[in-house]
Subunit: 386 residues, 2 copies
């Protein structure tokens, strides 16, 4: 199996891009990644997207986008794993290149979700959950996460207010990220007075949706003669997916992300590292509760102790395990199928030392974790810089 390097990244700002079509957003991120890689083309294109059929009435994105960017003819498919679609598309791009089927590929995440009625988007997002046993009961996606958070507060005795640092940190880190949707700091007071969405999740526990696209170019690491442009070489040192029951009620423990634990353990073993070696962690903070659960499942906190890390300031850029260093889902925004690739691009920025004011000093090993459904499909990547 060939080791894979990431040699180019591209991102569009996350926002309400009513003036740009889905293909235009995708093309912007893709061309920007090619430019960053100093390449004119790749052999394959794998597109992470969840909602294009339901929301944009457009499937077959592979051929559509390949043609749009001048890559007519290359192998191109859409890969879907709900909000984990982005990282899933990177898994496929990686396997395509590491198998020797091709020598270069782009994993592109794209989602355009603000041109439709909010209720339609909410209904479309509910397809990430179990249609027959969750959605059919009237549970929206935020409602499912609210039940999980309720249970967590009950089991471990935390108060809602203990989750404030997750959102405050994410907003603070997004301030200088030109691709972030919400570039404004929030205070603890803002957090407390935010209006309720689904008890106990309020507006500042929840990530905003958005339109956006991000892309990364992957090639065999051995093909790189030099580091290129004086940049460090960034390789995928660990990469693993695990699944869990789609419906939360089907899991033995509804407040433990076992797919996060399994995929992280596999990625640690591949990369030959432990949680102590991780310099930053782009986790999937779709809701503040998910930050706590991910930190615990991946071994950064004891079971039930995720909020403690946040309260102690250990998740900030100066802390022990900086998370959401460029804003996370909470403040960069969550264009669902694109998010997994934004996370990867952000880890690459950190490992290159190009992350701006929230640069983690000396970052050499970064982790990204993308989640589809309420913990059902979890993809973990560990990147290293040489």
């Amino acid at each position: 199996m060939r080791e894979i390097a990431i040699v180019g990244i591209g991102q569009t700002p996350v926002g309400e891009h009513w003036d740009k079509s889905l293909r235009e957003l995708a093309g912007e991120a893709l061309m920007s990644a090619l430019l960053d890689a100093g390449r004119e083309r790749v052999d394959g294109l794998f597109i992470g997207n969840m909602l294009s059929g339901m929301v944009n009435r457009q499937e077959n994105l592979g051929a559509l986008i390949a043609d749009w960017v001048g890559l007519r003819g290359v192998e191109a498919f859409k890969v879907e794993a709900a909000c984990g679609s982005g990282a899933a598309s990177l898994r496929v791009a990686m396997m395509a290149v590491s198998s020797g089927e091709m020598d270069s590929a782009i994993a592109l995440g794209v989602e355009k979700m603000t041109d439709t009625r909010g209720s339609d988007t909410t209904a479309a997002l509910a397809t990430a959950a179990d249609a027959d046993y969750e959605a059919a009961m009237g549970l929206s996606f935020v409602a499912i996460n609210a039940l999980v958070m309720q249970r967590y507060l009950y089991e471990y005795g935390w108060k809602h207010t203990d989750f404030a640092p997750f959102s405050i940190n994410a907003h603070s880190n997004a301030m200088h990220n030109p691709f972030a949707r919400l570039r404004e700091t929030i205070s603890e007071k803002d957090y407390h007075k935010a209006r309720m969405v689904a008890d106990p999740i309020n507006l500042l526990d929840a990530s905003p949706i958005g339109d956006g696209a991000a892309a990364v170019v992957v090639v065999p690491a051995q093909s790189l003669r030099t580091n290129g442009k004086g940049r460090p070489k960034v390789v995928i040192a660990g990469s693993a997916t695990s699944t869990d029951a789609l419906a939360v009620h089907d899991r033995p423990d509804p407040i433990w992300l076992s797919a996060a634990e399994r995929s992280a353990q596999r990625a640690y073993a591949q990369a030959g590292v432990t949680p102590n070696d991780i310099d930053l962690f782009e986790l999937h903070d779709a809701f503040s509760i998910m930050s706590a659960l991910s930190l615990e499942a991946c071994g950064f906190a004891e079971r039930g102790q995720g909020p403690r890390l946040a309260l102690d300031g250990e998740i900030t850029p100066a802390g022990r395990i900086p998370i959401t260093t460029l804003g996370g889902l909470k403040a960069r925004g969550h264009p669902v199928g694109a998010t997994g690739i934004y996370q990867i691009a952000e880890v690459v920025q950190q490992l290159r030392g190009e992350a701006g004011p929230t640069q983690i000093d000396g970052a050499k090993t970064g982790m990204a974790q993308n989640i589809g459904g309420s913990g059902a499909t979890i993809v973990t990547h560990i990147l290293k810089a040489y």
Copy 2:
């Protein structure tokens, strides 16, 4: 790159399965493939499906189906390339195993499309075309194919009636296939008097949709010590995808499937064969015109001469290049995202000598071609038996 063998196949009948949910259909085909392979589990699951979000309000099929069949935890994603989703999922399963990421995988195609209003299904199928430049003009998917057929008749001087043998052959071959939806022969008279759908495509030019699922188990060929159960060993000798412009009007020649030509040429080269070596060809006869175009693009007929092969009887089981040997899309039925895997399973049946009354004598090399959109994403596989 490891050579890949197909060691198990499973299919459900194509029909209107109002008594079975999407996960139940998928599970039936998958368990049947595992049983056929004599295995209890696989390391990964890649699901070809186009419409589950729009029609079944269910995405994240990977985790859903993995859990349903007792494979909770394995890597599992959905792969989408419109009606080419099935073969696309096999591409991903192949690359996952050939890269060494895993030692076994299932490619599963599933589609459940008859529980909804027909107009909703038609609108959902139109997402395979260009939403902004085709569907937005009111073009349904059959209307696009009708324009292609019109142009073909005009350019080459064929009459509509010259396409009758394609449909007659497909129906005749489906008679003994227990998984086929339309097990009834049709006559030339039936073809002529069939009611018009979109001029010149009539009801007997068009394949019926349906609910169905099919699955194949792939492993590294080198892992097989014996042929197992006295069956020949079936390997994937050629496998390639090519894309074209999504909108037909964007192609230099709207009646030439250049993505079929490119993917077939690549597959021939990989397998070290020419069209003369192909014993049977499961092509993508969504409409009768597509049979002619595929035969031409893959080198079985000169440009504009596809119907000649059919009129000469060369496409029947006794002919030079038997096609749709177990009914094809036309008579086995076309559960869109599942079709590409049905085709592969049927080629395997032929190569094992298990195809029943339409068995092709001494078949050693079989080809399958799956098309997403009106020729936009085309995946060609060549299987060989040893």
